[in-house]
């Protein structure tokens, strides 16, 4: 009963804002279903207020300017994975997305939380910074697909649409949530963006793809990515996709570092054009 998510504003605060009084009156008279519509749509003042709110509440994951951060998707894309309408965006911001790192940000969620009004302002801001996909997409997605599953060896470690290896992250949705630049950077500099620095709200999503090298009591060296770890145990996967469940105290040595196991794809291995094609493939899949 404490988990109401809508209409949290007190009547006095509503009355302080003439425009809201009008909206409320309109809602009461049945002209407008205020709950489902952004009362500030396209209002530049609200977008400005929303920008401040965004910096305070969202930029930690989604980056300044909403262009995506360590873990949060780029929100400047007009086409988003989880939401289309403003009303859907409101729901997602207020209640979070179960099973992802996106927390509930309404007053029932993490931290201070945001009021309905603040959430609408943020939506107005996000709409104001959206950029449409270029009419002529960069790269040849069909060729990118060939490379992904073929010569570029991406699929040895990465799955797209159910096909590929399991050591690296599944990339089916990456094209729908990351900027083109962020994907290119991840290929050219794979160690730069191992996701660290996550606060408790995302603690249940611990995998950062750190590289772990252990030597077991019988002298066997195993290298792989950490699936999870605590002070006393580590769960890891090697490049042959074997899972190891190990107690640190029983190991001869344990080393962890933030150099990704992914090879660095320099331009002499993968040309800019071929990389553009691979990214075009990922974006075409991610947009589905």
């Amino acid at each position: 009963m404490f988990w109401r998510t809508r209409n949290r504003r007190s009547p006095t605060r509503i009355a302080n804002r003439p425009s809201l009084v009008i909206l409320t009156v309109m809602a009461l008279t049945g002209i407008l279903a205020a709950d489902n519509r952004n009362p500030f749509a396209k209002d530049p003042k609200a977008a400005k207020a929303g920008e401040s709110e965004f910096r305070i509440n969202c930029a930690l994951c989604h980056g300044l300017g909403a262009r995506g951060g360590g873990r949060g998707p780029d929100l400047t894309r007009a086409r988003k994975k989880h939401v289309h309408s403003d009303a859907e965006m409101f729901q997602v911001i207020s209640n979070g997305i179960p099973g992802t790192a996106m927390p509930a940000n309404g007053t029932n969620g993490q931290g201070v939380g945001m009021t309905d009004e603040e959430i609408w302002q943020i939506i107005t801001y996000i709409r104001s910074v959206e950029v449409k996909a270029p009419s002529k997409p960069i790269g040849n997605a069909a060729h990118g697909k060939e490379l992904f599953y073929g010569d570029a060896n991406c699929s040895l470690c990465h799955i797209v649409e159910g096909k590929g290896g399991r050591v690296g992250p599944d990339l089916t949705s990456v094209g729908g949530s990351r900027t083109r630049e962020a994907i290119i950077d991840s290929v050219r500099n794979p160690s730069r963006r191992l996701a660290w620095g996550l606060t408790e709200s995302t603690k249940e999503f611990p995998q950062e793809y750190e590289t772990v090298t252990v030597v077991t009591a019988d002298g066997k060296e195993i290298k792989g990515v950490a699936l999870n770890e605590d002070n006393f145990t580590v769960q890891m996967m090697d490049t042959s996709e074997n899972i190891y469940l190990l107690e640190k105290a029983k190991l001869r040595s344990f080393q962890k570092n933030r150099e990704s196991m992914m090879p660095v794809y320099k331009a002499d291995i993968l040309s800019d054009k071929d990389l553009d094609d691979i990214v075009a493939f990922l974006i075409s899949v991610g947009a589905k």
Partner: protein
């Protein structure tokens, strides 16, 4: 002969009381004398920090360095609620009292975890508490337990039934006021400090008559016009100056002073508009328990722009005839003050800091100009979460070491101008993880208060929010963010035992005994766990 028998019987009685060997029955009242002399009943845990000194130390030693590896779970109590569980339970004569998420509360049979009563405060739908719907615990006095609520009520419950005895409203929750702190019972009073530094509240510490709920005094941590310290605020900024008091202080009976720490000035990360030191934010206050008047203060961070609340538990240490008070501050320095005067004795960094490279004439670390947040943002260590935060530290008189959960993390601080609106978040700022800096690191550190030297540190897999307990068994107990409860050798920091509880720890451990058996308890995930020897 008769006298000898009498003596034997008398010492036998003492032993029985000490180990709680009598069958627990309707417990006796918890008088102020019992609170003052809590070291005489180590089987009980009578206040947030265990005693008035803030030590969070248990004199029980049944569980010790030799047998800690045999520890085993004795019971688990599931609150059935989501959100962080930050409670420190109290234990009195076999009954455990704890608060939980959303201002629920419960009393359990401390041997089995079976509930005796449950209480749920009815919260309004439009509260906006910062940082989770949390509560850090009860205070107990007489036959009542006391808690603050997220809608800024102070409530007394019958310790036998959980029935509400009185319920008073301290402030308007609509303006961002709330309570998350465990109150402190002193004499006939219930002392409590307000939360809301994120909303531009005007902070205060209140004292209520434990019997009636009548407010006996209020100390505003932001002085009004005409009051000393008012001149440290620009214009009307004092009205929304913050300086909350959201962690439990201590009581020094020798000077009849309540020692209570305060938090950040508001807005937390933007100093423009509130020029001055912003007293009494980020300070330790010594308040006369009877009158509510301040005797002295010490401000740790002047004109704070990094949200470095000084709300960490102040810990009384007596050493070499000196009466001291120690605080491991969120700003990364470990301070020792004279308890009678508030005079600074030492300040030593105990974590990664970049904000200060000099000290003033008193020896207080001074902020570098370039540490101020900017519009574009720049990196400062510690980050906004601080070198430590609300997690309770412990001092062991046995090792003379101070143990504290610490974090090395740097953040990019940037300003985000924000108008004040009652009840709205009022940070004036934003902060982000610094990608240039190293990954965040978390530690349990053992500090020698005499020198500020770090005697040992235990590095966690990731930073934790767990508090720390030390015991006469030569142990320290803490939890980690991955859900482990860990016993370490207090002398060396070597982990001796751990148990995976399946939920991150945001609470601090306690120890108690029932039927002569020692237990160690802690909240993790959504549950309270108790451990003991087989």
């Amino acid at each position: 002969m008769a006298r000898r028998i009498q003596r034997i019987l008398s010492s036998l009685l003492t032993v029985c009381i000490y180990y709680g060997l009598f069958v627990p029955h309707a417990h006796s009242q918890v008088s102020f004398e019992r609170l003052l002399n809590s070291n005489k009943e180590p089987q009980n845990w009578l206040s947030y920090s265990g005693d008035y000194s803030g030590h969070r130390f248990s004199a029980l030693d049944e569980i010790n360095t030799k047998n800690a590896h045999k520890l085993t779970a004795k019971w688990v109590y599931q609150t059935g609620a989501t959100g962080k569980l930050e409670t420190t339970p109290l234990v009195v004569d076999g009954i455990l009292y704890a608060t939980g998420q959303d201002d629920r509360a419960f009393a359990l049979d401390a041997r089995t975890g079976r509930p005796i009563w449950m209480y749920q405060h009815q919260l309004p739908g439009d509260i906006r508490p910062c940082c989770g719907r949390v509560n850090r615990g009860f205070a107990i006095l007489g036959d009542k337990v006391f808690m603050g609520t997220l809608d800024a009520h102070v409530i007394a419950l019958d310790s036998k039934t959980g029935n509400v005895i009185w319920d008073v409203v301290a402030a308007k929750y609509q303006d961002g006021y709330s309570f998350t702190v465990a109150p402190l019972a002193v004499k006939s009073l219930v002392v409590i400090g307000v939360s809301g530094g994120e909303y531009g509240v005007r902070g205060f510490i209140d004292a209520y008559d434990a019997a009636t709920g009548e407010r006996k005094w209020r100390f505003y941590t932001v002085p009004g016009p005409g009051e000393p310290g008012h001149e440290t605020w620009e214009g009307n900024s004092w009205k929304v100056g913050g300086a909350p008091a959201w962690n439990t202080g201590t009581y020094d009976a020798a000077t009849n002073q309540i020692l209570w720490p305060t938090g950040n000035p508001a807005p937390s990360n933007r100093g423009a508009g509130r020029a001055g030191d912003n007293l009494f934010s980020n300070a330790l206050l010594a308040i006369n328990a009877d009158t509510g008047k301040m005797n002295w203060y010490f401000q740790f961070t002047k004109h704070d722009e990094h949200d470095w609340d000084a709300t960490q538990v102040p810990v009384m240490i007596d050493s070499g005839g000196k009466h001291l008070i120690a605080q491991a501050n969120r700003n990364g320095f470990f301070y020792i003050l004279d308890r009678a005067t508030g005079k600074l004795i030492s300040a030593n960094a105990y974590g990664k800091i970049t904000w200060s490279d000099s000290k003033d004439a008193e020896g207080r670390p001074v902020a570098k100009k370039e540490a101020s947040p900017t519009l574009e943002g720049h990196t400062v260590c510690p980050g906004a979460l601080g070198t430590t935060n609300f997690m309770a530290p412990t001092f062991s008189p046995q090792t003379s070491l101070f143990y504290v959960t610490a974090r090395d993390q740097c953040d990019i601080f940037s300003t985000a101008p924000q108008p004040y609106e009652a009840g709205h978040a009022y940070y004036g700022s934003a902060y982000f993880p610094s990608e240039e800096a190293e990954p965040y690191r978390g530690f349990l550190k053992a500090i020698d208060p005499a020198t500020g030297e770090i005697k040992w540190k235990f590095e966690h897999t990731s930073p934790t929010w767990s508090g720390v307990l030390s015991t006469a068994g030569g142990l320290v107990f803490t939890g980690d963010a991955e859900g482990n409860f860990i016993a370490l050798d207090a002398a060396s920091g070597k982990p001796l035992w751990h148990f995976q509880m399946g939920g991150a720890v945001y609470a601090a451990p306690i120890a108690f005994a029932v039927d002569g058996k020692e237990y160690v308890a802690i909240a993790a995930g959504s549950a309270v766990y108790a451990f003991g020897l087989p």
